[in-house]
Symmetry: C2
Subunit: 518 residues, 2 copies
């Protein structure tokens, strides 16, 4: 893969410095089985965290600290001997957990392989301290709210205490999340959690999730950039992220859906057709929000190339790429989802965004051509899939889904009235494939707003994202289904990320669409 | 406890700088069950260690590196991706092992509690590396020859390789152990292993064992100082060790049998009557070997106080301290050993050493008085326990033991002829309590030499310490019984230390007594 060194250098030049601040645990909590609590576990404060400095601990004792909110940072523990003679090393097992259930349901990575992701994503450590008192700095960066500490040793001659514990929070912005007083209480809470979600994913790139994969993905970036533009406005980070992705285009110009930055930047070698198409909208928005024409002009050929690759796959003006043929089709990770209508919608959407970008950069002829191509694809889609009576789009296999409806609206395959009718019909359709998670729910809310369904959009924000807040979330989850709190695409619920970029867009909706929502 | 700050300062002033050198693994080895191998496990070279740089490793793979000899130091691993896309952290389980069986029989410290010592002494680590290539520096100092590496993750998308691995060996002396060409081959091997044992215990104090307890004990120091005087001659380390121990005398002047030095020096609060008595001989030897009269004079009152404490416990001139009454009596850790005769012998021995020390410091009157007291205790012991016909000393309970015989010789309770007769009788006595380990076997060899039993002493060196060499040891063990290779005083054989100070004295015997042995 020929890495574009000039793009890489531009990404390096835009790399932000990280801020740091110290966060202390607030409470000791008791984790208890509670069918009414999220994932079946409640975390109840049982005392102030600093009281632990005087509590003797020995083998078998377990304490759980609550830092009060989801944080990303580096942790150190101060350990002291509190009684007896310290005659041997101390060994502790630590579990950093985003959610109570993750701390309450430990597993042994040495013997168990739950799910199919790497168990090394789990944030557990066994540490051995030879000489106390000691300040032990853990080696990794953790994403967590809870820290479970299990004492393995000492079991005998002496007891220890947790004299101190601190997290050096790190990120592009580590300021406190202050609630917006102009929003109604429940929406202010949703907004704060959304901004914390975004904040905790903003490091030297926009990460998808600070626990997992800690990686720059185009689809997540697209949504993060939306929310960033109306909150933190760190366009340096958007610029860096765009350049990093662009640096690793393969020989035909296709981007990798993700890339890595450590220890040195490298491509992810994952070819996501729909993510690549979203690069176009991200660059268009970046130009509009930042005014950075030079970057937009520099990366414009990359954006156009993603659309060209899509167009080359058309058959009779229908975009019917097949999964597994060199491409990964995402849309949503719902099993059984038929991607065709949504993928076609995304290609049209990308064409329209490309047209706007092209026009903004001054090439009116090319822009008009993009619009014409988009219109042609709209006509083909309507002829193939659209039922004007119901407003529904059915795939060739007859599947009805939120994905079809949302992308038909976003791309303009249907107009606002058709879109509203379709979205209302799909909501009542018994066989409609529902979204699996926040990423597609975002596009549904966006589509609702484009169709004037302001009340429904607000209800969805309050119902879906508000449901996570009511369940105790301080950041929004990668995976959330109110009907199945242990839903996971990974075969292991604790492999899910509890702070995930693609869930952060309520901060965008509540600002960009504020007049319509309030 | 009133710490003597002046002594502490003197100990600090004598603290040596540590030397460091890089040691690389030599072989990859296969660990295999082998009834003929020590503890049932053989380690057979299967290839050069550096070939691992090209071997793909993934979940479930286990490799064992052999560094060729027992080392003490800090280890780092260089990890690299060798194929596939590195999309998740890497997790390895490492076990640093002194012996093949320790590497071949892993246990899970999180669920198992074998034996009664802290499981945190076991040198295992689970490490998680987020970004490869990486050089991962392990946090602790390890004592080991073998490093077992088990790959937990990756299990899927990529493979890794061990691109490098090194141990930064550390100690007061880290030079290669060169075999003495003037000794016969088997004795040269025993001598080299003895010197390596001592070398690997020489850090900022004489440690008992670099794996466990890593602590300064008077009984071990006594034997290390003997060997040191004829090998490394690092009298600064003896001086520091003596001052550290003296700094923590309790209010009645009794020393603690051990002390700790990290993170700051502190006493061990273990009151070993017989170890304290050996402080006297250690100081006497230090003066004789180093010529440092100032230190000897400074610490002389401390030495005398240990003897006075012993004398205060006499009843009708017999020294019959009882274990558990504020004192720990050691002699040897053999279960069921009746300590009385040996403890009495050690008090007499200390009196004689004190007399010599006193004379050397110029107080002839006090020295003569010490000798008279010793002679009085010898008479009492002979009257109470000695059977001239057999040469045996029997405790009040009638017990016959190597401990009784050795200490009767060392203290002069019996003369050389009586001693030789007793030592020969005890060797054939069916009920005699035999030594449990190298510490008492040392005193037996020493007693044999004092009785002119040169051939028997040489045979014991060749049989006992030579047995460890023939079993593959590169350092001498804390616990060794040819008849029971899994003997342990700790309920768990892998809690034993395989490099232990008190086993290092063949280096002393083969030099100080060379003319008699060769």
């Amino acid at each position: 893969m020929p890495t574009n060194q000039r793009f890489l250098a531009a990404a390096a030049a835009a790399c932000p410095a990280l801020d740091r601040t110290i966060r202390l645990p607030v409470h000791e909590v008791a984790l208890e089985r509670d069918p009414s609590a999220f994932q079946g576990w409640s975390a109840t404060p049982v005392g102030p965290a600093d009281a632990l400095a005087r509590r003797p601990l020995a083998g078998g004792h377990v304490i759980v600290l609550d830092f009060g909110e989801h944080l990303v940072g580096r942790v150190s523990l101060d350990l002291a001997v509190i009684s007896g003679v310290h005659d041997a090393p101390v060994r502790l097992r630590l579990i950093f957990a985003e959610l109570p259930a993750e701390a309450a349901e430990p597993f042994d990575p040495l013997t168990a392989k739950p799910g199919w992701l790497s168990t090394a994503w789990q944030q557990d450590e066994v540490i051995t301290c030879d000489d106390l008192p000691a300040s032990f700095a853990l080696p990794r960066r953790y994403a967590f709210r809870y820290l479970r500490i299990e004492v393995i040793e000492p079991r005998g001659a002496f007891t220890i205490a947790l004299a101190g514990c601190r997290c050096v929070q790190e990120g592009v912005d580590v300021a406190d999340i202050v609630t917006d007083p102009t929003l109604p209480g429940d929406l202010a809470a949703i907004d704060a959690v959304a901004r914390r979600t975004l904040r905790n994913c903003m490091h030297t790139v926009f990460e998808d999730g600070p626990k997992r994969d800690r990686r720059l993905w185009i689809g997540d970036l697209r949504l993060q950039a939306l929310a960033n533009a109306v909150t933190f406005r760190r366009f340096d980070l958007v610029k860096r992220s765009l350049y990093l992705l662009a640096a690793f285009a393969r020989e035909d110009g296709a981007l990798s859906g993700c890339c890595y930055e450590r220890p040195t930047p490298r491509d992810g070698s994952l070819w996501l057709l729909d993510y690549n198409l979203l690069f176009v909208a991200t660059l268009r928005d970046y130009l509009a929000d930042s005014g950075d024409t030079a970057t937009a002009r520099d990366l414009y050929p990359v954006a156009r190339r993603q659309v060209e690759i899509g167009l080359a796959l058309l058959r009779l003006d229908l975009f019917l790429p097949e999964s597994g043929k060199g491409w990964w089709l995402f849309v949503d990770w719902k099993a059984g989802l038929d991607h065709h209508v949504a993928e076609h919608g995304m290609l049209v959407y990308a064409l329209r965004q490309l047209g706007e970008l092209t026009a903004a950069l001054g090439d009116g002829v090319a822009a008009a051509n993009d619009r014409r191509t988009a219109d042609r694809l709209v006509a083909a889609a309507r002829a193939a899939w659209f039922d004007p009576a119901s407003g529904l789009l059915r795939t060739a296999a007859g599947q009805v889904s939120y994905a079809n409806q949302a992308w038909a609206v976003l791309s303009g395959i249907v107009d606002a009235d058709e879109g509203a009718r379709g979205l209302r019909t799909v909501a009542l359709h018994p066989d409609a494939v529902r979204p699996a998670g926040p990423y597609l729910w975002h596009h549904v809310v966006h589509a609702q707003l484009l169709c004037g369904m302001d009340r429904e959009a607000l209800a969805l924000l309050r119902g879906y994202w508000g449901g996570m807040v009511r369940a105790g979330a301080t950041t929004f989850l990668e995976v959330y289904d109110p009907a199945d709190q242990r839903l996971t695409p990974y075969g292991f619920v604790h492999a899910n990320s509890a702070c995930h970029a693609w869930s952060c867009t309520p901060a965008w909706f509540l600002r960009r669409w504020r007049a319509r929502l309030l």
